[in-house]
Amino acid sequence: MIMTGQHISAKPGALKNMAALALDVGLFISEFRLCDTIAEYLADLLAQSHEDPARCANFSSLLINEIIELAFRSAIPVGRIDFNLLRNEALVRASVAFSYDRNNRAAWSSFDRSADSSGQHPAHHLMMLAQAIGVSLDIEIDGDDRVTLIADFLPREAVR
């Protein structure tokens, strides 16, 4: 098993849409089981062109599930939550976008890529997990108190 353990940068322009799912947030946070269901669904799609789809999906679903669980705990029940998969030749990008409570703006805005950061950031444990399994994780915040959690998977390198 080889894990890259390295963060990678992708050229967003090179990424093509693979799958998109939008849900009413109220519906999403009404049922915890949806986290697992959506994670497995996205991971299965992500892995479909991998040499070993079952193992690749299992690997990817660990982090995707954690991203979705973070959204489950952090999203306010307004508007929609977006799940997206994009891909190019090298990677598959999974992203989840949702609105968070503006009272937590300071915490969300304090994103520090280092897993050794203070631990106060809502995504602290998610970052630790991503680093442990060698997947690049990014967080984008916009002015409307909406956050996008982005994981870039290099399936061929991650699962052999």
Partner: protein, 390 residues
Amino acid sequence: MSRQTSSFSAEFNEINQEIVLSGRMRPRSVQEIASVINMVRRSLAESGSTAYVNVKRLTHMNMTAFRCLAEVLKSACEQKPQRMIVVVTSSVIAWSAPLFQTLASTQPNLSVEIYDSAFYPGQTFVEDESFIPILRTQTKMTWRHEREILPRHGLRDGLTIADICCGIGDFATLIKRQFNPTRLVALDHSKKSLEYARRVAAEFGLNSIEYTYGDASQMLLADNQFDFVTCRHSLQIFDRPDVLLRELYRICKPGGRVYITNEKNSHCLGEPHSETIRWTYEQVAKLFSHFDMDVEMGPKSRRLLNDAGFDAIKVESFMVTNLDGDPQDFADVIEAWETVYAGQMAVRRGDTPDFIRRFRQGFKDHVLAALHPKGYAGWPIWAASGRKPY
């Protein structure tokens, strides 16, 4: 797709000092897994100088469960600094070792081991690369029968199929060519066999077979996925065939069928020299039994399928013989059996040279029967299938 977010088991084996966690642990809160965590805590408190936490079959986990387990392990490490805790993972679950390694890096008396053997008792014998040509020959011999038998068990064109314990993938390749499934997944626990399988499939231009490296008793495949699930000559080499059948049942669609083949080695036969041949194959059955494998399983297929919850069970047997094709193929297979059974397994059991000499003689006589112009040599196999109820 229906999967429970948390569907796991936890056991403590006092003799091995091993806590075994398996299944899916994605609880919403720590309270959901409190009983398991308490069991782990208690077991670690009672353990001796080395304790093992086996997560080889823990297929899914969330950070709620991991952090909770990590706290228990850390606490146990600190309470008994002289005691080693070994987390046992497998390379099947690609995230497992790196994740638990983060924990081990903080505790001097905690380590992570990737342990890919001992998934089933005969693994070291079966996954020997030198066995590959013989496996191919065996499949060639059985396929002559099975391609006629399989349709009687419900196999037809256009199904979704899983071949579990696919070995070198030759059966999957034949299925692909003969029955043109819409999806075909082939799973095995030998990376070398799978490499071979992928290479052969590519040579035949069969690019759509999904080969996957996995543990048949805790597969990463979702529930209710396949119309037809095959598992050939493999239940008999697992010490817990019921566990394997439970997994085959799980991945099969309601109304779909699980097809298994198994042997009854003591019924291998030949003429001339029927007595020495019979004695040797009776010893084969005892030898496998010594290693917790049951190569007499064939006629038990009906009961096994019934106990696993299948209905509409069909059972039939067929005899592979030296008259089916080239007798030399039959002879080659028997010589390979002699090499593994007498040359490796009997030696490992500690049998005497006299026993091994007599044991080998039956194989040699079986080869002679196969190649003799008036001889007859047979290898009986039971094919059975059951339907997963709607």
